[in-house]
């Protein structure tokens, strides 16, 4: 058994090499896709606005708005990459081109193929976050105060958040049909980013209690809050055990939904 498990890992590795090769080939479109939204956002709201005498104040008075959105925008970068890197191609491969067949026929249980997609989505999510970070750090006209209080916390958050992003990409990619991709952006991607505690810390929602509780269903909330705790600890943020547990739960639930749907789509 252990030998076959080892064999499965080799197969998985082969699939990851393939996905990374494709990523390398498409790096420019990948980076552009990842960067555009956060870049324009920080440009308008943290560069243009302060210069034309407008300003948001989404947190404590002594903290710039740029500082508040940095962790959130990195989280959006991760989620968006997870969706773009896994959900879009997977939806097409399962629904239209059937290209996934060659990997479905690889000598592993089909569940492992889905798992590989989740892991690669997570890996690309980390890359997405890394691509976004320097932009949101450097573009703002107002000072950005980022300091990492605890490296282990940052690593844990980034790992769990990237797995959540990969799991979300897998779940969406296996459930959404190619013709529904536009709809998916309108109904899933846009709402989770606007209601993902990206542009405001979760604690500050307390004047609107129903919203504060409703957004807890959104996995992006825990990614934003987790990165906030790791990168801008002086801002209000959730307690680490809460967001870590929530991210783990989100990964498991979304991953389970995604793997199940993947098996259903590839075996009849």
């Amino acid at each position: 058994m252990s030998e076959s498990r080892f064999g499965y890992v080799r197969v998985l590795w082969g699939m990851m090499l393939r996905d990374l090769r494709v990523l390398r080939r498409n790096f420019l479109p990948f980076a552009t896709r990842t960067v555009m939204n956060p870049l324009l956002f920080v440009f308008v709201f943290t560069y243009v606005f302060p210069r034309i005498g407008q300003a948001f104040q989404g947190g404590p008075a002594n903290v710039s708005y740029a500082t508040i959105v940095v962790p959130g925008l990195v989280a959006v970068g991760m989620v968006f990459t997870g969706i773009a890197a896994v959900a879009l191609p997977l939806s097409l491969e399962l629904g239209g081109t059937r290209e996934i067949e060659d990997r479905v026929l690889a000598p592993v249980p089909v569940e492992w193929v889905a798992l590989e997609k989740l892991l690669v989505g997570g890996l690309q999510g980390i890359l997405g976050g890394i691509v976004v970070f320097p932009l949101v750090y450097l573009v703002p006209a107002t000072p950005v105060e980022v300091h990492i209080a605890s490296w282990p916390l940052l690593v844990a958050v980034v790992l769990l958040a990237s797995l959540t992003a990969g799991a979300l990409g897998l779940a969406l990619g296996t459930i959404v049909r190619p013709a529904q991709i536009g709809l998916m952006f309108a109904v899933v991607v846009v709402p989770i980013t606007f209601l993902g505690c990206v542009y405001y810390p979760w604690a500050l929602l307390h004047p609107i209690p129903w919203l504060q509780y409703l957004v807890l269903l959104n996995p992006l909330v825990y990614m934003s809050e987790g990165l906030r705790a790791a990168l801008t600890p002086e801002l209000p943020h959730m307690a680490p055990p809460a967001f870590l547990a929530a991210l783990l739960l989100a990964t498991l639930v979304l991953g389970w939904i995604g793997v199940r749907a993947f098996v259903r789509r590839t075996l009849s």
């Binding site: 076959s4 064999g7 499965y8 080799r10 197969v11 590795w13 082969g14 699939m15 090499l17 393939r18 090769r21 494709v22 080939r25 498409n26 191609p89 081109t97 059937r98 290209e99 996934i100 067949e101 060659d102 990997r103 479905v104 026929l105 690889a106 000598p107 592993v108 249980p109 089909v110 590839t266 075996l267 009849s268």
Partner: protein, 315 residues
């Protein structure tokens, strides 16, 4: 394990719940022997693709068993997938990759290391005359070329049985001939092949043995020659006569050497043990019934199919 047949299918059934529910397979039994080219011949919807789907672990049967090289395809799909190569009806090449990468990563999926995978890729590229296309993106290939890459990819991990599902459907005549040559080449390398087709000529030319399948059941299995001999006729005559009726039919059936005569849409089909002295009598009998044409040919697998089902393969 070495003595286990490459493919053994027993009492396989598959019911798709629908709606409407479809009985795709109603108890299929097959045995494919080592080194042979085995054809599943039948019209569209006969259950060929479902059978291949189950044997290649992608479709779950309702009942019955499939053993590939002695392994249970239902219980040990991952191990079975090592033993099989699959070319499906549609192009499943990885469109984000080049031709060479399609082969290389396939090898990696089957556990080969980087160096081995590169070597195997080079081997396959030259064997299938694809070396010049190695860096072409898979998405740019024509149908015939894509099929060639798919076959190269399917045998890259040296499977013990190769499944070709309708390999020439949608190919132009030239590519079809090239593919037939390629399959014949596989046989000379000792690769066992199961192919499905609804072209009787394809089954006849390529296969060592044929199973004719219709409505989810195997009607008959044997070598093409055996199946044709089973008709008990050396000659088939297609008679075009607008007013052919039962009277003509029974008159023709009584002619010497005629084994059987059946009414068809535009006339009669006559199976005869020999053509000696057959035509004059036949023409004389059919003249008053608006005889327009008489075509004589040897029995084909199509004739066998018609005899078994009363229908044309293309219907």
């Amino acid at each position: 394990m070495a003595s286990a047949p490459p493919l053994l299918i027993s009492t396989l059934t598959k019911r798709y719940p629908g709606p409407p529910p479809v009985e795709a397979l109603r108890g299929i039994d097959l045995e494919v022997r080592p080194g042979e080219i085995f054809a599943l011949l039948g019209p569209n919807g006969a259950g060929k693709t479902t059978t291949v789907g189950i044997a290649t672990t992608r479709v779950r049967p309702s009942s019955g068993t499939v053993r590939v090289g002695g392994l249970d395809a239902l219980r040990e799909p991952a191990a079975v997938k090592r033993l099989i190569g699959v070319v499906t009806q549609y192009n499943t090449l990885d469109r984000s990759c080049t031709v060479g990468e399609n082969l290389y990563y396939h090898c990696r999926y089957f556990g080969l290391g980087g160096r081995e995978a590169r070597a195997r890729t080079g081997e396959l590229l030259s064997q299938f005359r694809l070396s010049e296309r190695a860096t072409a993106m898979a998405v740019t290939l024509s149908g015939g070329l894509a099929q060639r890459v798919q076959i190269a990819r399917a045998i890259a991990h040296r499977p013990s049985i190769l499944f070709l599902d309708e390999p020439t459907a949608g190919l132009d005549p030239q590519s079809r001939l090239a593919l037939w040559e390629m399959v014949a080449g596989l046989r000379s390398q000792g690769i066992t092949v199961l192919l499905t087709t609804h072209y009787m000529e394809e089954a006849d030319r390529l296969s060592d043995r044929v199973a004719i399948i219709d409505h989810g059941q195997v009607l008959v299995t044997g070598t093409p020659a055996e199946l044709k001999r089973g008709l008990g006729a050396e000659t088939v005559v297609e008679v075009q006569a607008d007013q052919a009726d039962e009277t003509l039919r029974s008159r023709v059936a009584a002619l010497p050497t005629v084994r059987e005569a059946t009414l068809t849409a535009g006339g009669l089909r006559v199976l005869a043990r020999s053509r000696d002295g057959l035509l004059p009598g036949l023409v004389e009998a059919a003249l008053p019934y608006g005889l327009r044409d008489v075509a004589v040919h040897e029995p084909t697998l199509e004739t066998v199919f018609i005899q078994l089902t009363g229908r044309d393969l293309r219907e």
